[in-house]
């Protein structure tokens, strides 16, 4: 359902993601672990475009969320002047066309040869066409992807109930009455029915995070992204938030979780990803991931955290 294709993210000179690809299927619970500064959060935030990838594409089902990255489409590369020129220079009788094409495409990708301007009309219109056909409204896409933040980010100017109903009512997903009924049911489910009219500043971290989770659920998302949901919590409160997340997982919610909670990864994940230096270094089922790690950096990491 989410398809992240070869994304790079640079903040000025600092490159945080160096070509990450990952497909997330419906129903999966993907847990991303790794050392701080390894690009985990940035990767997650690229999925709903809170960070805009410098290169690469992000797709939600059939909808494109980013601009077209020409390097990812060989049928676009072959339309470029750079390709045509290289092909003409190298093609002689007896050379296999297919093979030469592959070779040149590989070289263009490897050496970053496509220019921003001057690649010709065919190339430009092909990009435009593909973009127009697939681009979806980013706000509608985000509404399908819930997000839970490390620092909760409840709207401080609104009561708990308004925090929950604001977006679905504003975006006309639910009527106000429906939204209130749904919010109350969700609050009861996480044991916070009595906090309906409280302001966020009066709540504990664990309470805030549980509300942040049900606020995301109000939009009926198809997937929820968790960005270190327990990292800012007192140790005592970690359990209550994790248990809400485990319940969600049991119900079949698609989840992508960046976390340091290895126990949660072992118990809930269907796939665990290890990220370091802006790359996916290892990706496996939790059993294999924890019992039989391959990457040396992962082995070192696990020996420290387990």
């Amino acid at each position: 359902m989410i398809n992240v294709n070869n994304i790079y993210k640079k903040f000025g000179d600092l490159s945080v993601l160096n070509g990450v690809s990952c497909k997330i299927e419906r129903g999966e619970k993907v847990v991303i672990v790794g050392p701080s500064g390894g690009g985990k959060s940035t990767f997650l935030r690229c999925m709903n475009l809170l960070e805009f990838p410098t290169y690469g594409e992000v797709w939600l089902d059939d909808g494109l969320l980013t601009p077209i990255d020409p390097y990812l489409h060989r049928d676009i590369i072959v339309l470029s002047n750079t390709f045509k020129k290289m092909f003409d220079e190298r093609f002689t009788d007896g050379v296999d066309r297919e093979l030469l094409t592959e070779e040149i495409i590989a070289e263009i990708k490897h050496k970053d040869l496509l220019k921003e301007h001057g690649e010709g009309k065919d190339y430009r219109s092909a990009i435009k066409k593909l973009y127009k056909e697939n681009l979806v409204d980013i706000n509608q896409a985000r509404a399908k992807m819930g997000m839970v933040f490390q620092h909760f980010n409840l709207f401080n100017n609104m009561k708990v109930i308004d925090n929950m109903i604001f977006a679905p009512v504003k975006l006309k997903k639910l009527s106000k009455e429906e939204a209130i009924a749904k919010a109350r049911a969700l609050l009861a489910r996480v044991g916070l029915a009595d906090k309906e009219n409280a302001y966020p500043s009066t709540l504990s971290g664990g309470q805030k995070q549980r509300i942040a989770i049900v606020r995301a659920l109000m939009m009926n998302p198809e997937v929820i992204l968790f960005d270190e949901p327990t990292s800012a919590l007192d140790p005592e409160m970690v359990g209550e938030v994790l248990s809400v997340m485990k319940d969600l997982a049991k119900e079949g919610m698609t989840m992508v979780v960046v976390t340091h909670e290895m126990g949660f990864a072992k118990e809930v994940a269907t796939r665990v990803i290890f990220m370091d230096e802006g790359l996916i270094k290892e990706e496996n089922t939790p059993e294999e991931f924890f019992n039989n790690p391959q990457n040396p950096r992962l082995k070192e990491f696990l020996s420290k955290v387990l």
């Binding site: 706000n139 819930g146 401080n156 604001f166 977006a167 975006l171 302001y199 966020p200 009066t202």
Partner: protein
Amino acid sequence: MTNFLASGFGLFVEIFTNSEYLTMIFEGLKNTLIISLGAAVLGLILGLIVAMVKILPKNKFTVVPKAICGVYTTVIRGTPMALQLFIMTFVVFAIRGFPQIVVAILAFGINSGAYVSESIRAGLLSVDKGQTEAGRALGLKGSQTLFNIVIPQAMKTMVPTVGNEFIALIKETSIVSMIGMYDLTMVSKILAGSKYFASYFIPTTVVAIFYLALVYLVTLIIKLIERRLRKSDKR
């Protein structure tokens, strides 16, 4: 001495009881109020627009508006208000019959906008980025997030400083008397020059009291707004 005080008191009473003088004062007060209120509204609108342009990310679409807003605040804050008023009156709107009060509102509003924009900008920046992110992550548009989530929270830091700016504005309107407009300050000058008073002492004191009362009222209103805004802070 007692004689002087007694006569002073008599003049004081005279101002507040003689309908002729009262009418003059209220006419001046009305103009002061119209200019202040008009300029405050204009300043608020301008300030909000300029502040929002200034917090936009830099790209090829925003570079020109951002530059314009930068020049605006620099020029307006870098030149004296009286001079700006002269320029508006004698250069920009040097049109016979153009209502002076409109010129004054424009001059003070444009001036106020430059200061208000900085207060608003500081307020908007004081709201945690996570609030915007949470709004956007739910699928809300940038404008929906700004107006419903960021601005209400920014108000808490904005209201005291913007209020301060309005108080300064009310008093600064007194310089319209320099272009011959009939405001509270002008009334004090006219009365002082009249045969009956022939002194600045009583007219200026009385007008000062009116300014003071006006500013005090605005201060009260600001405090009231601040208290309402702090509702969500109660622990």
